[in-house]
Structure formats: structure tokens, C-alpha cells
């Protein structure tokens, strides 16, 4: 039991931090432009595939540097030549634009790398068990992911709160016109934030690529969960995004490892519903089986009891 709790906690925190890497970019972009970037998970996927391609040519470490840079540049271009033009048609048009973009990126990835998963391996340098607890080997690569995620989180936090750049970004969030009057190029700040947000998703893609499966459907699989994180945390709240990321990371990891169903819990009661009925289905389904829908259940619950999200305070 202790083993399960420890390993699940580690994995859950890791998954949560990975979610936060993406949710932080998404939240920053949202607070700044009011656009929820539907294609954010696509940038994550692009990061994973570019990481795979570059690591084939030049090794994993170069991929870790260049893939996020390229994804960030792609993000900046999308903002400059796409979103900025759509902006005058309103937020719905912007959301639709990123929706179409997600569609196109998925198709392009399928064209270039095919529909089946690619063989993105962990680098040889990190391909060993870091430590062993209760006879379970914990891979060093996962530890590396943990370290990278925390480092980026701390770096982002310091940059936003302690540096001049962070000051300008924060000011542009709330008072874009004033910042522009003070002589800062606000459209450029917007483009840069969009690019950095995309790059953060790209980093998440590169480091998650070898651990999870790198395939053309990875954006569609992760995207909805990402939006749950942002809505549950409260749209536009960075603390909320961190909290919700960890919550959903832990929730899902723990749920997957619990193979318990109602029929196990009430095994002694002698009550067994007929197999082919709704109640029978619910009776026999295990917690692990409903793990994929738990984030959405959480979403519905949060919306009923706290419609602005856990840390949110603004209506959109």
C-alpha cells in the first residue's frame, strides 16, 4: 500500500507538472489576449514530433533546445499573421481560428509522420533506474522530467515577479493602453507571450514524448484535459492552473491504480444486479476504468458549486 501511494504520488505530481507546463502558457495567453488557444495542445504535439525528428538527426539534447525554439517561433508567426488579423472579429472568431489551426496541425503531422506512433526513445544517458523502492524501479528519465518541470516553473515565477520583463508583461495584462503610452511595444509583447507559451508547450512535448506515446492523436487526447485544468483552476489564474494541474494529475494517477468496483466493496452484501442492465454496468465498473472521465466529473462539480473556478474571480 505504501509503495502504491509513493509511486502514484510521484507519477501524479509529474503528470500534474507536465499539465502545468502547458496550462501556464495557456493561462498567460488567455489573461493577456482573452483568447483561449485551442491549438495549445497541438503545439505540445508539434514539440514532441520535432523533438523526435531532431533527436534522430542530432541527438536528444539538441532536440530539447531546438524543438521548443522552433515551436515558439511557429507560435509567434501564428499570432503575428493569423490571430492578430482575426482579432477585430472578436473572441469567438479567435477561438474558431485556433480551432481550425488545431485541425490543420493534426492533419499536417499525420501527413509528415504518419498515423501510427513514432519510436521516440529516452536518451541513453538517462535510460537507467534512478532508485528502487519496494522492488519498483523508478526510471531516471521520469526524475529528469520532474526536475525540468520544476526548474521551468521556478524560472517562470521568478521572471514574472522579479524581472523588468515580467513587470511589463504583468502590466500589459491589465493595462495594455497605459503600457503602450509608456513606450512599450504592446503588440510585440503579445506576440512574445504567445511564442513563449507555445514554446513551453513545446518543451512539455519534447520531454513527454519519450515517456508517453508520440502519435498524431496526442493533441486530441490531452487538449480537453488541459481545458478542464484551466476552467477548474479559474480562467486566467496562474495559481489556479497550478493547483488544478496537480489535483487532476494526482486524481488520475491514483484512480488508475485502484482496481476496485462497487461489487468489490459490497461483496459481502449478497446483492448482485443482473449483468446486462445499467445498474449492472455501474456495479461492476472499477475506479481504474472511470479514471479517464474523472477530470470531467470534477469539471461539472466545480461548475455547479463554484462557477468561476477554484481560484477564478472574473466572469468571461
Amino acid at each position: 500500500m505504501a509503495e502504491l501511494v509513493l509511486i502514484s504520488t510521484l507519477n501524479g505530481v509529474l503528470y500534474g507538472l507536465l499539465l502545468f507546463l502547458m496550462a501556464s502558457g495557456l493561462t498567460l495567453i488567455f489573461s493577456m489576449m482573452g483568447v483561449l488557444n485551442f491549438a495549445h495542445a497541438s503545439f505540445y504535439m508539434l514539440g514532441a514530433f520535432l523533438g523526435f525528428q531532431i533527436s534522430r538527426w542530432a541527438g536528444f539534447w539538441w532536440a530539447l533546445i531546438w524543438a521548443p525554439v522552433l515551436v515558439g517561433l511557429a507560435g509567434a508567426l501564428v499570432e503575428r499573421f493569423g490571430l492578430r488579423n482575426v482579432h477585430r472579429h472578436g473572441h469567438v472568431a479567435e477561438l474558431l481560428f485556433t480551432f481550425g489551426l488545431a485541425f490543420v496541425i493534426e492533419e499536417l503531422v499525420q501527413i509528415v509522420w504518419g498515423k501510427s506512433p513514432v519510436d521516440f526513445r529516452t536518451p541513453a544517458l538517462l535510460d537507467f533506474p534512478a532508485f528502487t523502492v519496494f522492488a519498483t524501479n523508478y526510471p531516471a528519465y521520469k526524475l529528469f522530467m520532474l526536475v525540468i518541470s520544476i526548474a521551468i516553473f521556478v524560472g517562470l515565477f521568478v521572471m514574472l515577479t522579479k524581472t523588468r520583463i515580467g513587470l511589463i508583461v504583468q502590466a500589459a495584462l491589465t493595462h495594455p493602453h497605459m503600457v503602450a503610452h509608456l513606450g512599450h511595444n504592446v503588440p510585440f509583447v503579445f506576440m512574445a507571450v504567445f511564442g513563449v507559451g507555445a514554446a513551453l508547450a513545446g518543451i512539455a512535448g519534447v520531454i513527454a514524448g519519450p515517456a508517453l506515446v508520440t502519435q498524431a492523436s496526442m493533441a486530441a487526447l490531452l487538449g480537453p484535459i488541459l481545458f478542464v485544468v484551466v476552467v477548474v483552476g479559474g480562467l486566467g489564474s496562474l495559481q489556479g492552473a497550478l493547483f488544478a494541474s496537480l489535483l487532476i494529475g494526482l486524481l488520475q494517477t491514483f484512480a488508475i491504480s485502484i482496481n476496485l468496483s462497487l461489487s468489490d466493496i459490497f461483496a459481502g452484501s449478497g446483492f448482485t444486479p443482473a449483468p446486462n442492465t445499467l445498474l449492472g454496468d455501474l456495479w461492476r465498473v472499477s475506479v481504474a476504468q472511470i479514471a479517464p472521465i474523472l477530470p470531467y466529473v470534477l469539471l461539472v462539480l466545480v461548475l455547479i458549486f463554484r462557477p468561476t473556478g477554484l481560484f477564478g474571480n472574473r466572469e468571461t
Binding site: F30, G34, L36, G82, N85, V86, H89, H91, V92, A93, L95, L96, F97, F99, G100, L101, F103, V104, E107, L108, Q110, I111, V112, W113, G114, K115, A220, P224, F227, V228, V230, V231, L235, N276, T277, L278, G280, D281, L282, V285, Q289, I290, P292, I293, P295, Y296, V297, L299, V300, L303, I304, P307, E315, T316
Partner: protein, 436 residues
């Protein structure tokens, strides 16, 4: 179907004969067209496609009650479509098993009812928020229902879904709905009814309040309406019609499976509605017809048809946010001012550059596809009867060249030809007092 359709009350009572039918002209024409279409397109594939178009029209119009009329962007409209389909299939199976005298004709009502009930349930949660948050919640709910459908196997039938037999129900007028033509007429009848009802809804005070909430929800509140209630009502009615569409789809395929809930389904209806034009009532109808046609045609011609779809969608969002209907309606005042002919000359200038861009883009995409997905087949590919090497520099130079040259020429034609011609035509319309 614009404001040009007069209400019966507006006409003088002294009308006789055929003039009395005039206010209903559009609907009579529509009914005749729907009835006559199978006589024009006789092949089996055409009939199947017409049936699919009818279903898509209802679905897209129901979606536009949210997007176009009330300004709510939903990424999970397929939920009500899918649930409508499942409940219809179960109702048909149940009626067959219990030997109930219920004709197939009314079965889509079951789907509509299911759509309504679940929209009442889910709408209560999701319409608490508007805008972006509403969009995200609709996406989350769609995932919730989609994943749950795989767990509750007894009702949703797991991966295979639930099948039915539409011919075993009570027969009216000796129609057993075995042949596709009979199913088409069933769909056409429901399609006509749904279009008429949804159009009528837009003309009610509530329909106008929906538009007010879309345009400025704060002012709508000052008038004394609760925007949340208006949104909730729109959501419920939209679920009802989506359920009818789903019911018809399940009758058409004699099957309901979990693919009905997929994000692809929700995405397609959004694409169809927006490409057709969310701002006008006819927009979704145009969009549904076009998108269904392209889906069936393009998927035969190219493997990456969804990419073309995505690009078309992005182009619409960026350059024609009013969609097809918006583009057509823009020309209304100019047509009435009699200045349309001057514009057509300018448009003709655009034809060649657009053709060049299209050819270039299609070549680039298809060559990429050939080198990527179909790498195993070698580099030689065939398009429009011409074989060429997808890796040859010449092919790429030609493709990119025509893409860039076409783009440049289009820009030139736009600035020198179309934009001034448009201004002139608009000026003429304004002179005649027709506001543009």
C-alpha cells in the same frame, strides 16, 4: 429566407386565388424542391447523399440556434445528436419487441425528446457561463458523455453500438422504409418541418431576445430579461432539434454507435455552420449541403481531405467571417441598385489567380502526402492523368511558383480591380438610398 418574407398578417385580406399563397411561396418552393430532388438525382449514391444532407441541415440549423442566434460557441453539440440517435434506436427496438402500433414516421420525436431532456440537464450546468468558459464546458461535457458511453455498455452497446431494423415497425400506406428513397422522403419531411419551426422561432420575441443577448447581454438585462435564462432556453431547444437530427441519422444507418459522440462530429457541425455563415438563417443550410457534398466527394479523391477542410475553415474565419451566406447577402443592396454587372467583370479578374493558387496549394499538399504517408509506394505519383516524380525539383518549383504567383496576382487583382469596383458599386447603391 430573409426579412423579405412577409408574415401573413401583413397582407391585405382581400386576396384571392393564387395570391393568397404568396406569403408561403418560399416554403412551397422548398417543399417542391425537396420532393423533386430524387427525380433529378436518381443514382443510389446521390440519394444517400441527399439523405445525409437533410440530416446535416437540421443538425447545423440546431447548432446555429446557439452559435449564430445566441452567440454561444459549443464544441460538444454531438452529445445531443448522439443521444437522440441512441434513444431512437432503443425506442424502435422496444416498439418492435412489444409489437406496439407506432409508425417509423414519429420515431425522430423520441430522439428530439431525448435531446431536449439531456439539454435541460447539461444546459443547467453549462449555460451558467457564457463565452469562452461555455465553450470549454461544452467540450468537457462532450468528453464526459463520450467516455461514459463506452462504460455503460448495456445501453450504448460498447464499441459496436446498437443496431435496429427500421422496416419492422407499423406500416402506413404500405411504406416499409426499406428502400432509401422512402427514407429520403422521411428525412425530407422532417427537414422541412424542422426548418419551418426553427425559422418561426427566430421570429418570436424570444428569438429576438436571443439576438439581443448575443449582441449585448448587459443591455438585454436592462430590458428586463435574464440572459442566462434566454441562453438556457436556446440551449434546450437546440438540443431538441439536434436530437431529431440524430434520430433521423440512426434511422438512416439503422445503427447508433459511440462515433456519434466524437469530437469529429461536433467539429463538423461547427465547420458546416460557420462556412455556410452563422449570421443568416440560410447559412447553415448552405454549409450543411456544401460540407456534406465535399466530405463525400473529397474523401474519394484525396486521403487528406480533412486538411483541405481545415484550411477552408481558417480562410473563412480570416477573410469571410460571415461565411458563404454573408458573402452572398453583401451583394443584396448592390443587386437591387442594378450595379452587379460592373462587379462581375472585376470578379472575373480574380478567377485565374485563384485557380493558380488552388492548383499550387493542392500540388504542394498532395506531393507532401505522397512523400510522407505513402512513402512506401515510391516517389512517382499521378494527378489528373499526369505522372510525375514527387521528389523532383521541377515539380516543387512549379507548385510553389504557381502558389506564389497566384497569390501575388490575386493581391494585385484585388487592389486594382475588385476593391475599386466594390467601392463604385457600393456608392451606386448608396445613391439610390439602399444602405450597405
Amino acid at each position: 429566407m430573409s426579412d423579405a418574407i412577409a408574415t401573413p398578417a401583413a397582407t391585405t385580406p382581400a386576396q384571392t386565388g393564387i395570391a393568397r399563397l404568396a406569403p408561403w411561396g418560399v416554403w412551397i418552393v422548398l417543399a417542391v424542391v425537396l420532393a423533386a430532388l430524387p427525380l433529378l438525382f436518381r443514382s443510389g449514391t446521390a440519394l444517400t447523399m441527399l439523405s445525409l444532407m437533410g440530416i446535416a441541415i437540421i443538425f447545423a440549423l440546431s447548432y446555429n440556434m446557439l452559435l449564430g442566434q445566441t452567440g454561444m460557441l459549443s464544441f460538444g453539440h454531438a452529445v445531443y445528436y448522439g443521444l437522440g440517435a441512441y434513444f431512437t434506436v432503443h425506442a424502435i427496438n422496444w416498439a418492435i419487441a412489444a409489437k406496439l402500433p407506432i409508425p417509423l414516421l414519429v420515431m425522430p420525436l423520441v430522439g428530439g425528446f431525448a435531446g431536449l431532456v439531456f439539454a435541460i440537464l447539461f444546459g443547467w450546468v453549462s449555460t451558467k457561463r457564457s463565452g469562452t468558459a461555455f465553450a470549454m464546458i461544452s467540450l468537457g461535457l462532450a468528453e464526459l458523455v463520450g467516455s461514459s458511453s463506452l462504460i455503460l455498455r448495456s445501453f450504448f452497446g460498447g464499441e459496436e453500438g446498437v443496431t435496429t431494423n427500421r422496416t419492422k415497425l407499423l406500416r402506413l400506406f404500405d411504406w416499409n422504409f426499406g428502400p432509401q428513397i422512402q427514407v429520403y422522403y422521411l428525412i425530407a419531411a422532417w427537414c422541412l418541418l424542422s426548418i419551418a419551426l426553427m425559422y418561426a422561432l427566430t421570429r418570436t420575441p424570444w428569438g429576438r431576445m436571443c439576438n439581443a443577448v448575443r449582441d449585448n447581454s448587459e443591455r438585454a438585462q436592462f430590458v428586463g430579461y435574464n440572459p442566462q435564462v434566454v441562453r438556457y432556453l436556446a440551449f434546450c431547444l437546440s438540443g431538441l432539434f439536434a436530437g431529431v437530427a440524430g434520430g433521423l441519422a440512426s434511422i438512416n444507418f439503422e445503427l447508433a454507435n459511440s462515433a456519434l459522440f466524437s469530437a469529429v462530429q461536433s467539429g463538423n457541425v461547427l465547420l458546416a455552420t460557420f462556412i455556410g455563415g452563422a449570421g443568416h438563417f440560410v447559412g447553415p443550410i448552405l454549409g450543411a449541403v456544401l460540407v456534406t457534398y465535399l466530405q463525400n466527394m473529397l474523401s474519394d479523391v484525396t486521403e487528406v481531405w480533412q486538411l483541405y477542410f481545415g484550411l477552408m475553415f481558417i480562410a473563412t474565419v480570416m477573410y469571410a467571417p460571415g461565411g458563404l451566406a454573408g458573402l452572398i447577402m453583401m451583394h443584396g443592396p448592390i443587386w437591387r441598385a442594378g450595379a452587379l454587372s460592373g462587379l462581375f467583370g472585376a470578379y472575373a479578374l480574380l478567377l485565374a489567380p485563384i485557380a493558380l493558387v488552388t492548383v499550387g496549394a493542392v500540388l504542394v499538399i498532395e506531393m507532401m502526402t505522397h512523400l510522407g504517408v505513402k512513402a512506401a509506394e515510391g516517389t512517382v505519383m499521378k494527378m489528373a492523368g499526369i505522372s510525375f516524380d514527387a521528389k523532383s525539383g521541377l515539380a516543387w518549383v512549379l507548385a510553389l511558383g504557381s502558389l506564389l504567383a497566384g497569390g501575388g496576382l490575386a493581391l494585385l487583382a484585388w487592389r486594382r480591380g475588385v476593391a475599386p469596383a466594390w467601392d463604385r458599386a457600393q456608392g451606386k447603391a448608396r445613391e439610390k438610398g439602399l444602405t450597405v
